[in-house]
Symmetry: C2
Subunit: 162 residues, 2 copies
């Protein structure tokens, strides 16, 4: 991108973009299929207008994982009829990628503002899940607590580091 | 920000954030108070949740101009009753600041994706206005053409460089 001018996208560009558009979140809900009756699934995603998919591709390339897909379902269904722009989304949900690529990337290339706090909570959850902390009642309780803190932070505003 | 860890925000962080959240636009409309009956006013702005005002302050500090204000008027009026988060906006409208600070900053520290195209058009408009190109019929016509291209780009999607 912009290769004619010798410009290249750096990790700091990606970090800045993620501060604006990235989202670290976890799904945390009862699920009888899981041993302790609860599932916690973390994901990193970023949504932009579909005509800016090039920026999402830069992020995917830097992180070396995840998928990009066009949104025309759920609340986006029939976007054109509602005068909405088509959107595209980049998403990483595989725990091995979150643990081995996404979390280390943003530990090396720091975020700032509220997104840095969200990432700190998210990283603890991903590392806990990867180390199977949630397989014990106590560990699951801690993962649920962190997931709730992250959800509160994303919805309500800044929270302190737990 | 994050000074404890020795981390500092770089121009590439700012550029990445602007790719996600920044907006380059021009107001272009008839106005009898102007000599040729038309006014063109460019502005650079960035809006985020009010609890992320720290990120906006970083941008203002880097660019060395502009103002940040809390949004609770216009379409935001009574946001709390509508379950909206309070938002804050950073904005630069002074032509001398746009010409002397904003445009040179993003010429040195390149943007990418659609925002780079918007910035290219915006920079041409700012430079034209600063050099008073719009004081002639022909110059005004060109400024209006560029302003329309920028508006189309912002609303409809990618356009080629004119």
């Amino acid at each position: 991108m912009n290769s004619r001018s010798g410009f290249s996208i750096t990790p700091a560009h990606i970090a800045g973009l993620v501060v604006g558009e990235g989202c670290f979140y976890t799904e945390s809900r009862p699920d009888e299929k899981y041993t302790l009756g609860w599932r916690i699934r973390p994901a990193f995603c970023m949504e932009m207008r579909a005509d800016d998919i090039g920026a999402l591709e830069c992020v995917r390339e830097q992180l070396g994982c995840g998928h990009i897909y066009h949104l025309d379902f759920g609340r986006y269904k029939g976007y054109a009829d509602r005068s909405w722009h088509p959107h595209a989304k980049y998403r990483v949900t595989r725990l091995v990628d979150l643990y081995g690529k996404v979390v280390p990337y943003f530990r090396r290339h720091q975020l700032f503002g509220r997104k840095a706090t969200a990432f700190g909570l998210f990283a603890e959850i991903v590392e806990g899940l990867y180390q199977r902390a949630h397989r014990t009642e106590q560990g699951l309780e801690e993962m649920r607590r962190l997931a709730q803190l992250l959800a509160d932070h994303n919805v309500r505003g800044a929270v302190g580091k737990p």
